[in-house]
Amino acid sequence: MELIAFYIFSVIVTVSAVAVIVARNPVHSVLWLILSFFTAAGMLVLIGAEFLAMLLVVVYVGAVAVLFLFVVMMLDVDFVELKQGSLKYWPFAVLVGIAFIAEITLAGLSREMGQNELFNPMPGAATNAEAIGAVLYTQYFLLFQLAGIILLIAMIGAIVLTLRYRPDIQRQDIAGQTARRRADATEAVSVEPNKGI
């Protein structure tokens, strides 16, 4: 049963990954990419890592890929023109592909998959969220904090890059607007006839 599901999922992942590259329309590429992310999450569920699977869906499919799609949809680039010169990059692509396959094969051969303790849930932990938490906040605590700090720096960097003071535009002062009372803006005047204010 699990084997059948695994083969179905792996076919879908492979086909959609190929379709990401082959698709002519960039938006279709992103949609295929999302499908392959999603199916990869399904495969994680199959090996019993449901916490990781849900994180993959929440972070990559639910947030990162939405922003991909957002950007690609708004770009107005002629992709046919862009793809014309792409043939000369083929040797590099092949080289990278071969290196990647070689590395994975090497890793797979040196340790038998599934026998490795990394692939098995921690014995004694009730759920795999607990297992990950127990390792993440003890053994890898410093690395985890470091990753958080790197992300924080990246975030601050992005904010600093886009934050510039422009005196020529009007800004809203929301606190000021909501604090306004009737007396600040209006004035009751009794106007005498034929005189005006």
Partner: protein
């Protein structure tokens, strides 16, 4: 559910599972028809109108008449539309909305899939709902739908962040990501519901704030007024739905309402004690009845809570004017996100130092 296959053999087990799913789907769709009517009736009531009152007694069958009308009309696909994606979008929207309901426990043990990471699953699937809208808006190849889908993408991604952090506070208090465990953590009466949490009295003000923020974020996440900017009638006609007609439009609408009711159910489960009544009945009294009648009672409480929150949703739609887009973003990023972050730290600190969990 997983026990069904092991206990009944492969064939009967699968049949039972499929039957369970079908039953749940049908009940859900039927309730949705009446919730839709309720939405319109409440809206009408606030405006001192009568609302739908022609089809059936008190207009009770209005939704079914609408359903027939949607099915019988012609499906129009714009000439410039990307046909596959255009038709895929509403289907995806509906499928995801139904899929999320699989993890909702409606009574003790009455759940299609009792996942260990149930709350994360709900969060993940509801965050995927945005794809239906983006794909629909893009594939229509038209300006209003496109603007609507862009707005929706930014809006839903923003409010997901605060929803996620609010969920974390509940997970911390309950000590589990399993929805049934979260509900059972609130057993014993309304004072132990996460909304009030009088048993952790320090948490009371925080959880009330969390509930209100979850409610507002849920409005934004499901594109309900006052945050219905992706389909703002006065600006974008109908936003991402402009080019949709007939059955595809119906699928979008059912998906949207399923998501709204899902958010109501999440609020009932996370904050209002799920299937538990406001006062715990003695076990001697409960023991007098067979288990399925007790479960029906639990189901009734769960549905009452969901309908109550849906009533609040409908009321909000009628009484609150639409937000402006920059105000919406400001509320999400500058107010909700920091508040939720601080609350996560406070609740986390309380859980650790008050020794709530082992």
């Amino acid at each position: 559910m997983s026990g069904l296959i092991e206990n009944n053999g492969l064939l009967l087990g699968w049949l039972l599972v499929i039957g369970q799913i079908l039953l749940f789907t049908i009940v859900l769709l039927l309730s949705l028809a009446f919730l839709l009517l309720m939405d319109r009736k409440v809206w009408a009531g606030v405006m001192m109108r009568k609302g739908p009152n022609v089809v059936g007694p008190f207009g009770l069958f209005q939704s079914f008449a609408d359903f027939g009308k949607f099915l019988l009309k012609e499906i129009i696909i714009p000439a410039g539309a990307n046909k596959t994606v255009f038709l895929l979008a509403p289907i995806l929207s509906l499928t995801l909305a139904f899929g999320a309901w699989a993890a909702i426990p409606v009574a003790p043990g009455w759940v299609v899939a009792d996942l260990n990471v149930g709350i994360l699953y709900l969060f993940a699937v509801s965050s995927l709902g945005v794809y239906g809208i983006i794909m629909g808006g893009w594939a229509s190849n038209s300006k209003y739908p496109f603007l609507g889908s862009l707005r929706s993408a930014a809006q839903m991604v923003s409010y997901e962040v605060s929803i996620g952090l609010i969920i974390v506070t509940v997970i911390l208090l309950a000590g589990s990501m399993n929805l049934s465990d979260i509900v059972n953590n609130q057993q014993g009466g309304f004072w132990t519901w996460h909304l009030f949490s009088f048993n952790h009295v320090l948490m009371f003000p925080i959880m009330v704030v969390m509930f209100v923020m979850f409610y507002i974020s849920a409005l934004a996440e499901t594109n309900r007024p006052p945050f219905d900017l992706p389909e703002a009638e006065s600006e974008l006609v109908a936003g991402y739905q402009v080019e949709y007609s007939s059955t595809p439009y119906l699928l979008f609408m059912i998906g949207e309402y399923l998501n709204i009711v899902l958010m109501c159910a999440m609020m009932a489960i996370l904050f209002l004690g799920g299937w538990h009544g406001p006062v715990a009945l003695g076990s001697e009294f409960v023991g007098l009845f067979p288990a399925w009648i007790v479960n029906l009672g639990h189901l009734a409480w769960f549905m009452a809570k969901v309908v109550f929150i849906f009533f609040l949703f409908a009321l909000t739609k009628a009484v609150v004017p639409r937000y402006r887009y920059d105000q919406l973003m400001r509320l999400g990023w500058k107010i909700f996100l920091p508040t939720a972050l601080v609350c996560v730290v406070l609740v986390g600190g309380y859980v650790v130092y008050a020794g709530v969990q082992s």
